[in-house]
């Protein structure tokens, strides 16, 4: 009996047991689709967070007031007003911090912008011109803030795309006037969307004004000298840790703190954000992978079960084929073909459904799904292996029986 005959015999057997073959394939299919979807969800979430962090800017350092290792009477992270415009100015000196490329102090506050009868509450950022470069933001139309704006505390504003949309609709707002805290501000530009389509709405709903304008004309009190954050960019990714050191030393110096454990500020790098995010994601991926593994296992046990039943039910057939002169090898081969056709068909259908699902699912759960070729191929291989192990093993055991013993089984 040649391979072609064997394949035909195997296909015949599959065709003549449609329901059972269908159920076997269904088990494999569900397992594989589950693996592809869950692994895809995990990887999609990871990619999303990575995108978000990268969209903050490259080689970014963020100095925030307060300390995470809050000791003594100091307030918690971000709550103290310990950073000042003077700190930012000092860090801008090439002598003090040679590896820092650009510095952008930022003061942030909620504010309501009014145009005619419509108004919109957004986060108003007071900052200096380098902010756009440090935060990796681009201008869609008009221009960004200039040094002139800063020096003259000009009444100008750059809107985020969402804010512009809310106040002016599709109209180009450049040249129009918006009112904030009774101060009329001229719109000079609109920011580009921050890029990642992934729910970074906050980055796009903002209004950026010169720092001096914010401090002197829009907000009173603390806002006059203190800043909410200082954004810095290192000159390159290689100098990121050097820049970190320089910034830390200078700020400790300025704040008269000798022990860095008592620092009243916190420096966050993009890298540290990524590390934290990745470790969170690793947990997520392991969790999802575990669920996927269990579903594949359950699918696999289903396949095992059906293959075992199928072979046991056909021990008589095996006996008869042996009585007619089939060599054990030929019988093993027949079941090998049957099991791998079932495994492969179920695997491919499962992969298809997984792929379709990963295209459709994001529309419902607002979370991206990344197809992982490794997981897909791995799952198919496992499915076939399960089919083979639990189809061929009992079949070859039956093939070793004396034909009459096989024929006698009920």
């Amino acid at each position: 009996m040649n391979w072609l005959d064997t394949v035909k015999t195997g296909l015949d057997a599959i065709r003549s047991h449609r329901l059972r073959s269908g159920l076997t394939m269904l088990g494999i299919l569900i397992g594989i689709a589950a693996v592809i979807l869950t692994v895809g969800l995990g990887e999609g979430a990871q990619a999303q967070v990575r995108d978000q962090i990268n969209s903050l800017g490259t080689n970014l350092l963020v100095v925030s007031p307060g300390s995470v290792t809050s000791g003594g009477i100091r307030g918690g992270f971000g709550s103290a007003n310990t950073l000042t415009k003077a700190d930012a100015d000092a860090l801008g000196s090439k002598m003090v911090a040679p590896d820092v490329a650009q510095v952008a102090p930022s003061t942030q506050s909620q504010g309501t912008l009014t145009v005619g009868s419509s108004n919109w509450t957004t986060s108003v950022v007071g900052t200096t011109p380098p902010w756009a470069a440090v935060r990796a933001r681009k201008i869609d139309s008009g221009r960004f803030l200039t040094a002139d704006d800063e020096n003259t505390a000009a009444a100008v504003v750059v809107l985020g795309p969402t804010t512009s949309q809310q106040l002016f609709g599709a109209e180009n707002p450049v040249g129009q006037t918006v009112t904030l805290n009774n101060v009329p501000l001229q719109v000079v530009g609109v920011l580009q969307s921050s890029g990642s389509s992934s729910g970074t709405a906050n980055n796009d709903d903002t209004a950026v004004v010169p720092y001096s304008t914010a401090a002197q004309r829009l907000f009173g009190g603390n806002a006059r000298t203190s800043v909410n954050a200082i954004y810095l960019s290192a000159s390159s990714s290689g100098t990121l840790s050097a820049a970190y050191q320089e910034v830390q030393n200078e700020l400790l110096n300025l704040h008269h703190i000798t022990n860095s454990n008592n620092a009243d500020f916190t420096i966050t790098t993009q890298e540290s954000l990524l590390t934290t995010a990745n470790s969170v994601n690793k947990t997520l991926t392991v969790l999802l992978g575990g669920i996927a593994g269990i579903s594949l296992l359950v699918g696999g046990i289903g396949v095992m079960n059906i293959m075992l039943v199928s072979v046991t039910e056909r021990v008589r057939e095996i006996g008869l084929r042996k009585a007619l002169g089939a060599r054990p090898r030929v019988i093993r081969r027949q079941f090998l073909v049957e099991a791998s056709v079932l495994g492969l068909a179920g695997g491919i259908l499962g992969a298809l459904i997984g792929m379709i699902g990963s295209g459709v699912l994001p529309n419902f759960i607002n979370s991206p799904v990344t197809l992982s070729p490794t997981a897909t191929v791995g799952a198919i291989v496992i499915a076939i292996a399960i089919g083979l192990a639990f189809g061929v093993y009992p079949a070859s055991r039956a093939a070793r029986l004396a034909p009459i013993d096989a024929l006698r089984t009920e």
Binding site: A323, G325, P328, R329, I404
Partner: protein, 246 residues
């Protein structure tokens, strides 16, 4: 008809097809042991038509399965055409079952999902015959058993007698020298019985060795030799039907 009988001088010139030497078969089921065959000696020559008779449980089927290489004896030796079967490998045995022996079962044992034609083609597929030759020979074999018009019917669509004729076609399609039939007519009515026995008689007439288990007097009378089993032993072995006992 052979006038000299199985032990006559004529047989010395004929080739031995089957020789059993002190063959025993013990079935073990849990703590129980059933001795189905005890020290059976039996020789069958080329071209003989042998009926095996005996009461139920006397070991006829067990004997037949050993003759057909479907089962192995617990003790003793079985020479098939002079070759010791116990020294053969699994693959050798498969080849023997495929080419030298045609087996007809009481329960037909056809594959229900295959057509009559495909059932008859099966042994040829295992012998590696090319596709067109397989088809031709299977069609011819089915023609020989009078089922030329039932090629594409599945066993479920055939009567018992027709199914058994398909099984006979399957047994003869490889042109084996030895045909073994275990109560082939046990499940058939008298008309079908006559058909099937006629076919076996034809095979014998064309020079094949036929061994047949039967309970029926007139069936045994058609054979040239009757081996009577009792309690796992050969009780009587003669070439006349007068020894027939029930």
């Amino acid at each position: 008809m052979d006038l000299l009988g199985p032990y006559g001088s004529d047989h010395s010139s004929r080739q031995e097809v089957i020789r059993l030497e002190r063959v025993s078969k013990v079935y073990r089921t849990g703590a129980f042991e059933v001795a189905a065959l005890r020290d059976v000696d039996l020789t069958i020559h080329d071209g003989e038509f042998v009926a095996i008779a005996g009461p139920s449980g006397s070991g006829k089927s067990t004997l037949m399965h050993i003759l057909g290489c479907l089962d192995v004896p617990t003790a003793g030796r079985y020479y098939l055409a002079g070759e010791d079967v116990s020294t053969m490998t699994e693959d050798d045995l498969a080849a023997v079952r495929n080419r030298r022996i045609g087996f007809v079962f009481q329960q037909f044992n056809l594959l229900p999902s295959l057509t009559a034609l495909r059932n008859v083609e099966l042994p040829l597929a295992y012998s590696g015959a090319p596709r067109h030759e397989r088809h031709e020979r299977a069609v011819r074999a089915l023609g020989r058993v009078g089922l030329a018009d039932r090629l594409e019917h599945r066993p479920g669509e055939l009567s018992g007698g027709q199914q058994q004729r398909v099984a006979v076609a399957r047994a003869l399609v490889t042109e084996p020298a030895l045909i073994l039939a275990d109560e082939p007519t046990g499940n058939l009515d008298s008309v079908s019985t006559r058909d099937v026995l006629g076919l076996l008689q034809d095979l014998h007439d064309s020079g094949r060795t036929v061994v047949l288990i039967t309970h029926e007097h007139d069936v045994a009378s058609a054979a040239g030799r009757v081996v009577n089993m009792l309690d796992g032993r050969v009780h009587q072995d003669a070439d006349t039907v007068e020894v027939w006992t029930r």
